[in-house]
Symmetry: C2
Subunit: 272 residues, 2 copies
């Protein structure tokens, strides 16, 4: 997916958020914004937003000296998500169609940023989400593809949400490879985060090799590309993976909540 | 008021909005964003946001060649607001405390951007707003000051809202000078817009001489400063006037809706 002009103000918003997470030094935060501003004229609109986000978070790391500004944030998110695991697991098991409910739980995980608001009433949000229809629903096709599939490649997104992915993976009951970012980027899951989320018990965790908040194939490792090219079914979580994989020739099932007006307009659906 | 780091992403959002209002040429819009990016390192954080907004809208004008990109938008806003005038006027007249209701109507005018959403149910919003308390309420002090005042200086903000200001000015029943921007800037009212709103019938309209979306005293005309310094009471509408006048030694009554998290945090109140 291309970068839209609307992405540019959003890059600054993200840079500010990440810089504040990394440091309290206002002059350093201003320096991050100044350096992001220097990047703007060079942003190619035909590259995907995660490609630029990659450069922005590099600036944040360089200026603040913090290799993983979201380390604590991610840890809190995973702990919070784990506290909901038993209830959600039982919700799926008691459901008439456990696979569909597990898909919905995994998508709901993508709305919820447990680190953002500690008082967030996750179960209430989950209940309200589960009673909704999906705006774009390829569930039947997904279920059908799964039936004949041996292997499934699952592209993770945020740390915390990983715990919800675990429930879906358990429900699918196939050999799953769970792919994560090649380096810490925003609150996206790395191998360590996936391990902490308990994914190691039920899937093989691999790095995509890509250090962007998405899956940019030309930046992925050869090992990952081999898996990507031979997987029977690919599940992709989140906007960043969608932004980088939209248009790629591969049968990918995208599970995500739409968080920005650009994608909402692209799909002619509403945010949320 | 100083510029906060949160203002920087917002400057880009505003530049994009204004550029889209001025042209459909995506390459020109990108050029606006590139040139705003060039401004970023030079933004002094100890100047007020309208000071920077002034430079941003100059870029929009220069790149797009449109002297007043919001001309049509403002005209629509004024027409829309005028259609509500009779109902609001009667609401004020029927009220137990017409002055207070007129103040509330004038503040409500600052929430409502009639150009933004043509289907906006203004009367419903107005009803819900009028039943609320103000977050910061200096009404008693304002009423008291008015009693002994001969002259009132009223600093206008957006075109459209001007019609709501008219109702308050009629209710006040004093000699009023209504000040507007020195040049078209965003959807802020100019002399022409104030005339179209019918303010010329009940007040003397003057230009502040300032071409920023606020009242930056050092950029105002000598004529305006004389009025400002001798007015018995000053009423200031909107965030831009507040941002540029906060901290100035003068007794100013600020009527505004808080539209951004920076000011909400500064005052420890909620947006809206």
């Amino acid at each position: 997916m291309n970068t839209y002009l609307e992405c540019i103000p959003c890059f600054f918003r993200q840079a500010l958020f990440a810089a504040r997470e990394a440091t309290n030094d206002e002059s350093k935060i201003k320096e991050v914004l100044d350096r992001v501003a220097e990047l703007v004229p060079g942003i190619p609109l035909n590259s995907s937003p995660p490609e630029t986000a990659r450069l922005i978070y590099r600036v944040v790391r360089e200026v603040t000296g913090r290799a993983d500004p979201f380390e604590v944030y991610k840890e809190r998110s995973i702990e919070k998500a784990k506290s909901f695991y038993p209830e959600l697991k039982s919700l799926v098991e008691r459901s008439e169609d456990p696979l569909r409910t597990a898909v919905m739980v995994a998508i709901a995980g993508n709305i919820i940023d447990p680190g953002a608001d500690p008082n967030f009433d996750l179960m209430r949000e989950m209940d309200s989400f589960l009673s909704q229809d999906l705006s774009i629903d390829d569930y039947e096709s997904f279920r059908h593809r799964l039936e004949s599939a041996h292997s499934l490649l699952y592209l993770g997104d945020n740390a915390g949400e990983t715990v919800f992915d675990k429930i879906l993976i358990e429900t699918v009951g196939k050999d799953v490879i769970y792919a994560v970012r090649g380096a810490p980027i925003i609150n996206d899951a790395t191998i360590e985060d996936a391990e902490k989320s308990g994914l190691g018990e039920i899937a093989r965790i691999v790095s995509s090799g890509c250090d962007a908040p998405g899956t940019i194939l030309k930046r992925c490792s050869r090992e990952f590309l081999d898996i990507f090219e031979t997987a029977d079914v690919i599940v992709s979580k989140g906007q960043g993976n969608y932004e980088s994989l939209a248009g790629v020739e591969a049968q990918v099932f995208f599970l995500l909540k739409v968080k920005c007006p650009v994608i909402a307009r692209r799909w002619m659906i509403r945010i949320g």
